[in-house]
């Protein structure tokens, strides 16, 4: 070993070197005062660290600490946690809630159908003659009731007979009303 290799000396102090590498390094340290000082310094640091091991300070004993952890878990077990959900578009919502969509559509169809049905003409009402009269003397106007509800008949009897339409004018002009 011709040069002063600090890493090798540190490895020797840590017991990492084996065989020929260890023998050569030990031999160098015995004959080189500079490296011998370095080796001695490292050994002192190791001894100092071994004499003062790091101590972790805890306010509680280990058992008491774990009992506190278990109590905390038990206390928070019943808590509901709100998990943020991604925002859905209306199309996504429709995909998810197909049942609701089908129900609403069916209800719309039923309501619209009912409206159309209500607006259709009904046969429940009847044609009804509430009042009828004539001012021509010796003439009677009579409402006739039939079985059909969509037809009403008024029968005017006693009107002047005429042989044809051309003579009606003269005939009816002479009627005093």
């Amino acid at each position: 070993m011709k040069s002063h290799n600090i890493e090798r000396i540190s490895a020797l102090a840590d017991g990492e070197l084996k065989g020929l590498s260890r023998w050569l390094t030990q031999r160098h340290v015995r004959h080189c005062p500079q490296c011998a000082d370095e080796f001695a310094r490292i050994e002192r640091v190791r001894e100092t660290l071994a004499a003062c091991p790091p101590v972790v300070e805890m306010s509680d004993s280990a058992d008491f600490f774990w009992s506190k952890v278990r109590r905390e878990i038990a206390a928070r077990e019943q808590e509901t946690i709100s998990i943020p959900m991604p925002r859905l578009s209306f199309a996504d919502w429709l995909q998810v809630n197909r049942g609701i969509l089908a129900t609403v559509t069916s209800a719309l169809v039923v309501v619209a159908g009912s409206i159309v049905m209500l607006q259709q003409p009904t046969r429940s009402g009847a044609v009804m003659v509430e009042r009828v009269d004539t001012v021509i003397p010796n003439t009677v106007a009579t409402p006739l009731k039939g079985a059909e509800s969509d037809v009403a008949v008024i029968w005017v009897s006693g009107l002047e007979w005429t042989p044809d339409l051309d003579q009606m004018q003269e005939c009816f002009d002479n009627i005093e009303t």
Partner: protein
């Protein structure tokens, strides 16, 4: 896809709703047993006319139709010197209350207040001409 389907359904429903405006129609008819005096324009009334008056043939002498407006007196000139005056008194969804006056020239033949349902008919048997009868048919249509 779903939105398109809903839009189509809504449009179909809107189009299915009928537009409505009531009209009164008066027709002057000659009832006869002489062949040849039949009229295809009375095809919707033929059965009812035969049932009510018994004649074999019915000829339309004149007809007029006007939209109804409550309180407004309408004059329907049917030709052959016959006229009908119609005054709508009231109306609801399916029924019209009408005051009718049937004139020949200046002579009032008959006046009446009737309630007519949609597609219902009022038939008035009027003067006799030869072997025939003159009949007035009044109906309300939308």
């Amino acid at each position: 896809m779903i939105m398109r389907w809903i839009a189509t359904l809504s449009l179909s429903l809107l189009l299915a709703l009928p537009a409505r405006a009531a009209n009164v129609q008066a027709r002057l008819i000659r009832a006869s047993n002489e062949s040849g005096k039949s009229d295809t324009s009375l095809s919707d009334l033929q059965v009812k006319l035969k049932e009510k008056f018994g004649y074999k043939f019915y000829q339309q002498l004149g007809a007029q139709q006007q939209p109804l407006k409550t309180g407004t007196k309408l004059q329907l000139d049917l030709g052959q010197n016959f006229q009908v005056f119609v005054t709508p008194k009231s109306s609801d969804k399916h029924e019209q209350s009408l005051e009718l006056e049937w004139y020949y020239g200046k002579t009032l033949l008959v006046r009446s207040v009737v309630k007519i349902v949609e597609n219902g008919h009022l038939l008035v048997k009027g003067p006799e001409v030869g072997n025939d009868w003159i009949v007035l048919a009044v109906s309300v249509r939308n």
